[in-house]
Point group: C2
Chain length 121, copies 2
């Protein structure tokens, strides 16, 4: 079980956020390619990541008074950490983002929740 301080240090790590950005864009490009049946690539908007992270409760693990960009970075850092620590595989991330939710943005919330669970335990 990680301490609050340890978790906060992970979520504000700039290098982890950069790595997580690349990881999430690749994972979501795989998802879009599966859905459309032809290759696509994308950059996930910060707003999508930030909204999902807030709904998953990630904001309260961050320092107070952070902006939307910092929340998105926190989500990216979280994903990088759990992937690098082998607590979630690329396939698991893709499967989570490819769930059949009516609201596709809900998949990002589920992913954030899943990753937070892996981070905490």
């Amino acid at each position: 079980m990680k301490e609050h301080k340890q978790i906060a240090n992970i979520l504000v790590d700039r290098g982890l956020a950069q790595f997580g950005d690349a990881l999430l864009n690749f994972a979501f490009s795989i998802v879009l390619t599966k859905i459309h049946g032809s290759p696509r690539g994308t950059k996930i908007p910060d707003k999508v990541l930030a909204d999902a992270a807030v709904k998953a409760g990630l904001r309260k693990l961050l320092p107070t008074r952070v902006g939307r960009g910092d929340v998105a970075n926190g989500f990216e850092a979280l994903m990088a950490h759990v992937w690098l620590e082998k607590r979630l595989t690329l396939d698991e991330i893709v499967d989570c983002l490819n769930s059949e939710n009516i609201d596709a943005s809900q998949n990002f919330v589920q992913l954030a929740e899943l990753a937070l669970d892996k981070l905490r335990n």
Copy 2:
């Protein structure tokens, strides 16, 4: 063995280029993270990709009069194709980009050559 026309169609595919962009940025982020021993992420500059693609002979497979951006896109599309067709794995791409060359840009040339070889045969 693929025909010249088939290869050209792959290399100019916009969706493949977008997918390849995400794939290469993720693969190179893994490489940087290994090299530095701490997480990093990056967006590989088009110039790096275009220069490597030209050296590997990719330009002559593209339509004439294409710019640097198109050559970089061709390299990205090539990588997406060979990865999606399971002719190169992510680990193989990472290993190739993590070779111990004196000139790091040479690793991108080697990757383009390797992928072209997989594409052709």
